[in-house]
Subunit: 332 residues, 2 copies
């Protein structure tokens, strides 16, 4: 086989669902592998909400947008099939930014070897972007303290589910906000969350009040949406808000307004946004922090696996509908 498939981004997405026409599926020749380069055969590639930011033309975003005409950006896991690089051998399992393509040529930058004996699905679900993001956001930004109450939105999502489990392991009371009863059951009965709110059902204010009788110390925001104002109102003095995602607003032409700032003064709150590209050089220390929790079985996950490269395109829309069940990825 001398050719492989790749998907290029050719147009910027419009507000609303992602459509096929913004992508171009192409057949490419396998490239020659130069000095200090490796060729990776990708086995699983990750779909993440951050991709909406990467596709957007907004030059103020945290990393440059994907250039039109180039391969769509994504992280993945795969096997080294050819190596002229001293740090990598044929057969090594690696993870890193590989793009929407079956093979990736790399100089090794940003590519990390995966030594842990876990399935590919675990690598992408726990050790890759979701776990690193959860670890950075919860520990380094949120600074959780035993006995505190955490509310996490998108709690059945790839990041939120790990945030909640790490917080439980640290002795916090953890309430998750999700979009279906099935997800609510999963995070409470399988992941051990203390409570769940399906934001599509019932009186949210009542549910939140009942589940957080001592108020909220730490708010890990993955979604935005109307629940944001309710959670914000229940923040305790010196509470921290970690802003990691706003998926409910990414597709909107006019994003919903946020909460008034008076509580920021009254409660002396800190609201902090972060994105992983600022912390890529901290990946080794983040992995060192995360790995023991995983190896002790404290981080369960659910992978939602799509089949075949092209399934990535429509797969992105599962983030808008909340139709994904667990970490979304594509098996190649």
């Amino acid at each position: 086989m001398n050719t492989y498939k790749a998907i290029n981004l050719v147009k910027r997405p419009q507000p609303g669902p992602i459509t096929e026409e913004i992508f171009d599926v192409v057949e490419k020749e396998l490239p020659p592998v130069g000095d200090n380069e490796i060729l990776i055969k990708q086995t699983h590639m990750s779909l993440d909400p951050a991709m909406f930011g990467w596709m957007s033309p907004d030059t103020e975003s945290y990393i440059p947008p994907v250039e039109l005409g180039s391969v769509m950006r994504s992280s993945g896991v795969g096997q080294v099939v050819e190596s002229n690089h001293p740090d990598f051998a044929v057969g090594d399992r690696v993870m890193g930014m590989m793009g929407w393509q079956e093979y990736a040529l790399s100089n090794g930058q940003g590519i990390n070897k995966v030594e842990a004996d876990v399935p590919d699905e675990t690598v992408l679900s726990v050790f890759a972007l979701p776990g690193l993001t959860a670890t950075q956001g919860l520990f380094n930004v949120g600074k959780p303290q035993q006995g505190e109450t955490l509310v996490v939105t998108g709690a059945a999502g790839s990041v939120g589910s790990i945030v909640g489990q790490l917080a439980k392991a640290e002795g916090l009371t953890v309430i998750g906000v999700v979009g279906s009863d099935e997800k609510a059951n999963w995070i409470v009965n399988e992941l051990g969350f203390d409570g769940a709110i399906n934001y599509k059902e019932g009186d949210l204010h009542d549910q939140l009040t009942k589940l957080t009788p001592d108020g909220i110390d730490l708010y890990f925001e993955n979604t935005g949406g109307p629940i944001q104002h309710l959670v914000f109102e229940r923040m305790n003095a010196h509470g921290r808000v970690v802003v990691c995602g706003m998926i409910a607003d990414y597709g909107k032409q006019v994003p919903d307004p946020g909460p008034n700032w008076i509580p920021i003064i009254k409660k002396r709150l800190t609201i902090q946004g972060f994105t992983m590209p600022d912390h890529f050089d901290e990946i080794p220390s983040l992995l060192a922090k995360l790995t023991p929790y995983v190896m002790e079985g404290q981080v369960k996950y659910r992978a939602h696996v799509l089949e075949g490269l092209e399934s990535a395109i429509d797969g992105l829309n599962l983030f808008f509908t909340g139709g994904n069940q667990g970490k979304l990825m594509v098996k190649l």
Copy 2:
């Protein structure tokens, strides 16, 4: 003279202007001065926007509300006229929380001696709550860096005017938002701000864009109001927002919504609220930081002096109308 006047808070304020009926002006007997106590004759008392929080029944606020039936809380400057306290002598000039009254009995807690040879008006305008708040907020929360651009709202106010001058002294570009052309002239021509915006005039977006060609790194928020959204949109990556006051919203039954949180992620912003009561034990170090700027003449101020205890009541409404010109205080 064995009696003195004091003003008690007897009702909680309603939204809108402050009315006389929530206060009671009383005549009291001078109290006996016990062991380790001092009697202070107050000469100037300070009016501050924080008072709206202190009067409010909101038990979630940062310090307990003033109890109904007790003297209205305020800071002031005065002279020790009787002392049974080892740390204070008759004739000492002191500042601290003294309340709306002509004489204050104190055990010395929270009362600091003022050694600097400056007028009473300077003490209240610069060394008391406004200067301490500006110093804490700008340096310890905002972490200004030379060459950055700061926007401060309420820039002609007691805190904002000091924030801007300290930031100028640190080598930042400083733009102030004010409510009149007269104030705009004052902060630019007298205080040395790089630019001013009268939020009541012209196209705010255009003015802000012109005055902050390199975006905004540091946003010191004293007011809230519509300009908040415009400033927020121009924040640079890793920008910091110091939330110190929201005077535009304190009187509203339904406060205006804040900005959407997407920029918090995209720009990795930190938004942090603070109030001075959390930092009262840091007053010595804050004064040590502030004093050299004052003594080198880098902090100018304007005092707006009302006459007589009762003038305090209607004086509070100057915060809503923006009618105060400089630090508001009452001469007793």
